[in-house]
């Protein structure tokens, strides 16, 4: 539980995620998704309750958690005034990777993303879809146990989102757990399991098919709207 004064942003939530799973964390604006994610990534302390990420306690061992996770926020957060390869080098260096290891892996990554010609471009000059793919690749560059994605594909077209999800599937197949929040219901369908938060509580949890059956709705869009309408807190 996380309380800001008397306001309980996240209230009594409980769930577990398997290794290598793609877990969709859904909810309307203001439902408490970002706060929950901040507690899991060690940016915030829970007011009460407990949690474990990669086996570490979120209340006391948050600095250890930080070594074993990747994070990509909704505010796109690579350095725009550094080049593509400088950004990769910086974050890899922060996670304690060695220089030669960084160089080798950077080359491989850029080939994979077909970014070789843009290695020395400033990140600020890249189109948004590219920035997001790059930010995701940087967040899993040090092979974390879990990667947290906070609305990673905001503001780009469906084709670009599709490409982004191919990267996510690729990471999950390598055993990286993906914890993702989104507002796009087509993306929700791509997840192994999803949870839907309303007013700081988890109202639904299961595979997309389970949820459609449980709430007797034709698709995820309807499931989401059905649950979000029950919210009593004002959303923005």
């Amino acid at each position: 539980m996380k309380a800001f004064g008397t306001f309980h942003a996240v209230d009594d939530i409980s769930f577990s995620v398997r290794r290598g799973e793609i877990f969709g964390f859904l909810g309307a604006n203001g439902a408490g998704k970002t706060t929950a994610m901040h507690m899991l990534t060690g940016l915030n302390q829970p007011t009460s309750g407990t949690g474990r990420v990669c086996g570490y306690d979120i209340r006391t061992e948050y600095e250890q958690i930080k070594r074993h996770i990747g994070y990509m926020s909704q505010k796109f957060s690579l350095y725009e005034d550094l080049t593509v390869s400088e950004n990769i080098r910086l974050f890899a260096g922060i996670y304690g990777m060695k220089d030669d290891e960084i160089t080798a892996k950077t080359g491989k990554l850029l080939r994979q993303l077909k970014f070789e010609d843009h290695a020395n471009d400033l990140v600020g000059s890249l189109p948004l879809g590219w920035k997001q793919k790059l930010a995701f690749s940087v967040s899993i560059f040090h092979e974390p146990g879990v990667v947290f994605l906070d609305e990673p594909t905001g503001g780009v077209d469906p084709a670009t989102r599709r490409q982004f999800w191919e990267l996510i599937y690729d990471a999950a197949s390598r055993g990286i757990t993906v914890f993702v929040t989104t507002h796009y219901m087509d993306e929700a369908e791509y997840c192994d399991r999803i949870s839907i938060m309303v007013d700081g509580k988890i109202r639904a949890l299961g595979t997309p098919d389970d949820l459609k059956r449980q709430f007797q709705q034709p698709d995820m869009d309807h499931v989401f709207t059905y649950l979000a309408r029950q919210a009593t807190k004002s959303s923005d």
Binding site: L43, I69, S77, L82, I94
Partner: protein, 347 residues
């Protein structure tokens, strides 16, 4: 060693910034080649009206002396005191010299007190030298350490304090708040970077830049004015580093509590102006009222200004400024600890 990657990043960003490299280039030139001429309290070009009712050879000679002096501009003879006063009221003259029956009256416009008092004392010197009064002939002041009473010698070390304040206080503070605004600091906060590495990586580049600019200033002061440091140079650098530590910590504290650049800038300005005006940079601290003088005990700028003038102008050694060094170190360490404690990676 993550610090290396972080420092490298800061230097890359400083180099790419369209503004920073220019600041580093222009700043020492501004501080050393423009400021010492402008921030000058020497009083010159005082305009004098003379009301000479005696018309004796002595009074004529006196007027010639005023005309010849570098400090005065002879504004003209007026027939009455009232007429001369009109000149003062319309700001065409600064001082009236009335000569009547062998008596002299000097009336100065004291709206600007310094100009009025210094001007009238220059003028009385000229009057007295003509009369050779017994008082002045036996009085010969000896000005120690700064023989020409040059205001430049007085101001140049103080300007170095302002320089460290700007480069090591404002810039890192704005840099950190900038990262907050862009959201990149959140990305750093979810990484295992330690507080110390992050803060040091922000400060070290600006300290290096500060010391580089300080060196350029010392060289310029020697080249342009022939003014060199009379005491040991390492003390100047030591003082600069301590002051940099204070202002950096101060900037960090403010940036840790501010959400936007505008907020940080306003708070920073408020405190910096107070610290500067209460430091004795422009005016002697002893002439402050008692309650204001008490504040100088916790004002690091005051200790810095005091110490650097002792070293730079008088040639004082370590022992001469030990007390200021101690006080400055204590204040800086306190602020430094506060800065590290107030930066939170986890709320």
């Amino acid at each position: 060693m993550t610090l290396r990657y972080l420092i490298q990043k800061e230097f890359l960003q400083i180099r790419r910034n369209s503004f920073m490299p220019k600041v580093i280039f222009i700043f020492p030139i501004m501080v050393m080649c423009v400021m010492p001429w402008v921030m000058n309290q020497e009083v010159k070009n005082i305009r004098v009206d003379v009301v000479d009712t005696d018309r004796t050879p002595q009074s004529q000679q006196l007027v010639h002396q005023i005309e010849r002096s570098n400090y005065f501009i002879f504004n003209g003879q007026k027939s009455t005191y009232q007429e001369a006063l009109k000149d003062i009221e319309s700001s065409e003259a600064d001082i009236i010299l009335e000569i009547r029956d062998g008596q002299y009256l000097i009336a100065a416009n004291a709206v600007n007190g310094t100009k009025g008092s210094i001007g009238s004392s220059y003028l009385s010197q000229i009057v007295n030298s003509g009369n050779l009064s017994p008082l002045t002939s036996h009085l010969s002041p000896l000005f120690l350490y700064n023989k020409g009473q040059s205001y430049k010698v007085f101001m140049i070390p103080a300007l170095m304090g302002i320089l460290m304040m700007m480069l090591c206080g404002f810039l890192p503070a704005l840099n950190i708040v900038g990262e907050k605004e862009k959201g990149t600091i959140e990305q750093i906060n979810v990484t295992p970077v330690s507080k110390w590495s992050f803060i040091l990586a922000k400060l070290i580049p600006y300290w290096l830049i500060g010391l580089l600019v300080l060196t350029v200033c010392l060289v310029l002061s020697w080249l342009v004015y022939g003014i060199t440091c009379q005491g040991p140079l390492w003390l100047v650098y030591l003082l600069a580093v301590l002051l940099a530590l204070f202002f950096s910590s101060f900037g960090l504290i403010i940036s840790n509590y501010s959400a936007t650049m505008q907020q940080a800038m306003l708070v920073m300005w408020f405190f910096v102006v107070c610290l500067m005006l209460l430091s004795g940079l422009f005016t002697p601290t002893r002439s402050m009222p008692d309650w204001a003088y008490l504040t100088t005990y916790v004002n690091p700028m005051h200790y810095f200004i005091d110490a650097i003038r002792t070293v730079f102008v008088r040639g004082g050694d370590f022992a001469a400024i030990a007390h200021q060094l101690l006080a400055l170190s204590l204040i800086s360490l306190f602020m430094g600890s506060w800065a590290v404690v107030s930066y939170k990676k986890n709320n």
